[in-house]
């Protein structure tokens, strides 16, 4: 279960993994205020991608990726789409 060292690689791998099988992939976010760290995991129960941080600047990145994946999940399109209204 590797922890990615760079956010860029993690974000790319996470989105790629989600697109291979949207129904299997889940995203887990664990925040510990007392320890001051945040950990994000994206997995399909075979492959597990993780990113850990204690930097405030990463909160925005994590939250954006989270939102992006959420939008992918509710959109009917099979490829990533920003926001299309029919």
């Amino acid at each position: 279960m590797p922890y990615y060292q760079t956010w860029e690689e993690f974000a790319r791998a996470a989105e790629k993994l989600y697109l291979t099988d949207p129904l299997k992939v889940r995203v887990v976010l664990k925040y510990r205020h007392c320890d001051g760290n945040l950990c994000m995991k994206v997995t399909d129960d075979v492959v597990c991608l993780q990113y850990k941080t204690d930097q405030a600047q990463d909160v925005k990145k994590i939250e954006k990726l989270h939102g992006k994946l959420m939008r992918l999940m509710v959109s009917k399109e099979s490829h990533s789409v920003a926001m299309e209204t029919d």
């Binding site: 889940r26 887990v28 976010l29 925040y31 205020h33 990463d58 909160v59 939250e63 989270h66």
Partner: protein, 110 residues
Amino acid sequence: MVLLENDAFLTELTRLFQKCRTSGSVVITLKKYDGRTKPLPRKGHPENFEPADNKCLIRASEGKKKISTVVSTKEVIKFQMAYSNLLRAHMDGLKKKDKKSKSKKTKAMQ
């Protein structure tokens, strides 16, 4: 596991974050949801279920208390805005990086 409406979920999530400020962790899980409310049928039995494609399930827990909500396409825009604000407001215990310290005691002299 308590299934809530989006707004109630956000309120409860705020409470979870506030509760865990001194100890404990908040775990949030996000997964695509196809809307099924019945268990998978046994082999040989017909599945009369139309999977929906536009929903996701969000769960949150602080170890003991568990809450969840379902977000669909119609609600995602509104929910995501409120949700992002919530995360950003509460995940503020992390280290701030300031290589260039903006303290006023030393101004860059050119």
